[in-house]
């Protein structure tokens, strides 16, 4: 084995990206807990904690640029670095979406829509992230396709949840007080945003899988 320092740096980058993904998944987990418990303080924690993710992101971006500039990676190494460079952007966006969810935690009252299972959708997206990152770590192409299939389920869940909320709103009896109207508007818009944000988390997980597939097999099949 030659270029030992370079090999070590590549291994470090992989470990660091995986660490970032764990931090991001943890943020999303906390945001979902905050939503479930309607815990505004916990939601706030997710928001302030985002600074750490941003810092990690910038650090890893710098590492990728340094590797490209100083080591002139080619072939599998190049694809690994290019994939990592893109994946950290998706992870950073997922963390941003988690802060959105954290922000809704103190405001929305989802019990008015008991049939909308935000936790179920959230768990699915977390599983997608985990599967995608496993594909990246283990270099397994099958797992990349699996993530893409899981996203179809998430999209379906999100669509039917949104439909349910809107249908319910239309069918609802006329609200009397201004206060009720206000509260309903807030609840509905927050809930629709929550659903949309989770749907976006799923999309980012698919992006991670797509970049991993490119890395593993030089295959851009899952990109768009």
């Amino acid at each position: 084995m030659v270029r030992k320092e370079y090999q070590i740096k590549l291994d470090e980058l992989r470990d660091d990206v995986l660490y970032m993904s764990e931090v991001v998944a943890e943020r999303l987990r906390l945001a979902l807990d905050a939503l479930e418990q309607q815990d505004g303080d916990l939601g706030e924690e997710v928001i302030t904690g985002d600074a750490e993710v941003n810092e990690l992101y910038l650090e890893l971006e710098r590492d990728c640029i340094d590797l490209i500039a100083l080591q002139q990676p080619v072939a599998g190494d190049l694809r690994f670095i290019a994939a990592s460079f893109k994946i950290i952007t998706d992870l950073e966006r997922i963390a941003d979406l988690a802060t959105n969810l954290g922000g809704y935690a103190g405001e929305a009252h989802h019990e008015v829509y008991p049939d909308v299972d935000i936790q179920l959708i959230g768990d699915q997206t977390l599983e997608m992230i985990e599967t995608a990152m496993n594909a990246y770590r283990e270099e397994t192409a099958d797992a990349c396709y699996e993530v893409s299939e899981m996203d179809d389920d998430v999209d379906e869940l999100c669509e039917s949840a949104s439909e349910l909320v809107v249908r319910d709103l239309i069918q609802r009896e006329q609200l009397e007080s201004d206060e009720d109207i206000e509260a309903t508007m807030r609840d509905v818009s927050r809930l629709l945003l929550t659903i949309r944000d989770l749907e976006r988390v799923g999309d980012h997980a698919v992006n991670i899988a797509a970049r991993s597939l490119y890395m593993i097999e030089n295959d851009d099949d899952l990109l768009y």
Partner: protein, 303 residues
Amino acid sequence: MSDSYHIQGTDADSSAAADPSPNDPSPSDSPANETVRPGETEELTPTIEEIPESQSVIRSEELTVHYGDEQALQPVTVGIPEREVTAIIGPSGCGKSTYLRCLNRMNDMIDAARISGTVRFRGADVYADDVDPVALRRKIGMVFQKPNPFPKSIYDNVAYGLKIQGFDGDMDARVEQALRDAALWDEVKDQLDSSGLDLSGGQQQRLCIARAIAPDPEVVLMDEPASALDPVATAKVEDLIADLSERYTVIIVTHNMQQAARISDKTAVFLTGGQLVEFGDTDQIFENPENQRVEDYITGKFG
């Protein structure tokens, strides 16, 4: 193996003849010493892009070279596309310079070299009995690692090949054109009578390129043409190679993989024991090589 050639040193010129491959093999990195891990030899099935006969200017078929008892080149069958830059890369002792030197019969100068198989230039066997190697080298010119201008004026260096050829046209115009094509004219036009040896290293190399292209060859072979140059001179030579490929077929041996990646359209990778392992589009080789050992070599996992 029926058409095998035993070449004796036929050409007069040859300080280079003493050493089979001056840049390459040292005892420590000869093929025999390369560590081959078990199970790896199977991966050496070559992946060679087929260049159609009509688009390849040079084609080698089952070309092998022995230096004495040592086989320097495993059978190489490949077509070199016309008016493109083909880079040949590989570790020391892999046979890349040996291969290059077969194409215009530079190996003729090495007594111990034994060549079999064929090299065709525009369909004609370059090792046929009636081929004059000196005439062949005007069609397939060569530029070496170390700039080697003749101890003559800049003008005479460029005019040399044309004079030998018996060219009786407008010599001044041809010299100027060759110097312009070699991106050297503006720097030397007021000192054409001064010695080529007075130029800087980078200028000397461009002078050698001007000398190689003055007789209007079809192919220019380059053996590590920029390895003795500083980065600025290297960049000039690289730019020049890109320009040259509009008119000539350029085949360049280089140790510098980034250089190969920057300047070539096709890349040939030679590995252990003189085998051509992969030949294809340069971007494909550097982004997604087919062969695992090519991947290991270009990413620096062995070498």
